[in-house]
Point group: C2
DNA sequence: CGATCTTACGGGATTCGTAAACATA
DNA sequence: TATGTTTACGAATCCCGTAAGATCG
């Protein structure tokens, strides 16, 4: 005969009430049914837990000594259930997201503000890294899902198009290209001093595929888009950046123009593991992220 | 709908088997019944704990995170039950006994040796103190029961006769009284130098009631029976001690003779609380103590 | 097609509540 | 006698196992 939690609850209740009738009422049970619970527990343990010889019920030595263990079990159980219930109702949890720095700085904050307002108990872990580390984090399960510029379709990963991201010219507002007639084509840029991003960036890889490097007038190569912005604003050169990064260049001295590109526009993919389902917290963020995809940004002519 | 321990066990089993059929078998349950346990747990928690889409069952993020809490609850529960079962079967426990030093040194060791052999897991706490502190310890529940020379019948305490304890003369083997004809009466001792115990001892109180103190030839007053023995052996005087303390005087140079006393013999009482039942460990010692009451010790004439 | 989980349903054990018996101060 | 626990018993519930259905590789 195995003991049950119900019996432990009856025991704990009787220990504080010291009266079968009241304890039974507290458990919404008839007194005989309650008595059977206590009796059953005593039988499975092989020990009498309460003396009910006299007017008031009193625990035996064994009955008193059992209290700490019994209460520990009950509270552990309840908190375990409550903890999972909190996760079920999104009052607790954790979600980790890996995404491109441009998305992380420009588009994500608004989404996360709404997410946190809805689910203040959920901890959010953001990794703002380039596409390759994004994918790597999903692979190693450091991130629940990622927004990256790589269509990572492997046995472990699945990818879906998240949004299209076209390229834009950035230059000083007083630069000739700032007022050149539409459409601006890639070859129109080749003559001008150019600020490149590092070779690991997806923009650069796209440009390297379109041009032979030596066909361009490369002024320098930097890692951060913010640095590109500074160089352009200083008149050191022009550059081409994805629409999602244009927020860096919303400055009076800088103009941005759409560039007509051969082939398809760059795409951002939502990448997640194929085998693992998302946690509830991750699923909620996933759904919100899809519902609030970035809207195309308009370039500005100066 | 409340969660049950059974569901937690099913969960823990499925987590390590990752297969409903095997886990069900391990629980001696049909697979559908097992499935219902998991389903019920998932419903009460409001979270899907396992993905069973593909060939093998895999825990969801929530399902994996639930493991530590669930296992903790299960092990706490099992150890709580096992702990009480150990106490029920006297494999564990504690008993504390208060008794007169003479009993503690002369009679108790043999009893405790048998008790410990039967119940090696039970810790025994012995207080070898005089009658008053014995009773005090039972009152304050520092001792489960006591063997003392006081019939402590109060609303809290009940006493039963444990054994009778008659008094014996102790003197040097070459003392005239060692070979005096039976019976030796108390008045036969008045003429000889006498070693008294302190006034708190029950022997002394008995003698003070029988004689006026000034009627005796008091040599000195000591606290310990072992000291009495040393004094007597040195020929400084004679004394009277309870039969239970005679083991101190089993020495070649010392003779012991029964003394015929007016009134009843001294009695040792077993004293316990009236309201509290004894713990199982205490009850076992209680029964053994009663079964092995001291047998009357024979005095020796030299 | 085979392995595996879920759904459907009848039978059996457990548990409940009412009523009566029993114990104690 | 009044309060409070145990016993007795019919009824509702819950849980299990068998069998059929659904799904995925």
């Amino acid at each position: 005969m195995a003991a049950s939690l119900r019996q432990l609850r009856a025991y704990a209740l009787l220990l504080q009430e010291r009266n079968f009738t009241r304890a039974a009422a507290a458990m919404h049970l008839s007194q005989p049914a309650f008595s059977a619970l206590i009796g059953g527990l005593e039988e499975t343990l092989g020990v009498r837990l309460f003396d009910r010889s006299k007017r008031h019920v009193a625990p035996t030595v064994e009955g008193a000594d059992f209290e700490p263990a019994a209460r520990r079990v009950l509270t552990e159980f309840d908190s375990a259930i409550a903890g999972m219930h909190d996760r079920a109702t999104l009052r607790r949890g954790r979600v980790s997201l890996a995404l491109l720095p441009s998305l992380a700085a420009g588009w994500l904050p608004g989404v996360l503000a709404r997410y946190r307002a809805l689910y203040p108990g959920i901890a959010v872990d953001v990794a703002d890294v380039l596409s390759e580390p994004c994918i790597e984090r999903v692979m190693t399960m450091q991130a629940d899902f990622a927004l990256a510029a790589v269509r990572a379709e492997t046995p472990e990963l699945q990818a879906q198009v998240f949004c299209a991201d076209d390229f834009h010219l950035v230059c000083r507002a007083d630069h000739p290209l700032a007022k050149a007639p539409e459409p601006i084509r890639l070859r129109d840029l080749a003559a001008w001093p150019f600020i490149h991003l590092s070779r690991t960036s997806s923009v650069r890889q796209y440009l390297d595929a379109a041009f032979r490097p030596q066909a361009m007038d490369t002024v320098m190569e930097v890692d951060q888009l913010a640095t590109v912005m500074g160089m352009v604003r200083a008149g050191l050169g022009i550059s081409v950046v994805p629409a999602l990064a244009l927020f860096h260049f919303e400055q009076p001295e800088i103009a941005t123009r759409p560039v007509r590109l051969p082939g398809l526009a760059r795409r951002i993919y939502l990448v997640r593991r194929r085998d693992r389902s998302l946690s509830l917290a991750a699923q909620a963020l996933h759904d919100m992220v899809l519902a609030e995809r970035p809207v195309p940004v308009r370039s500005r002519r100066r």
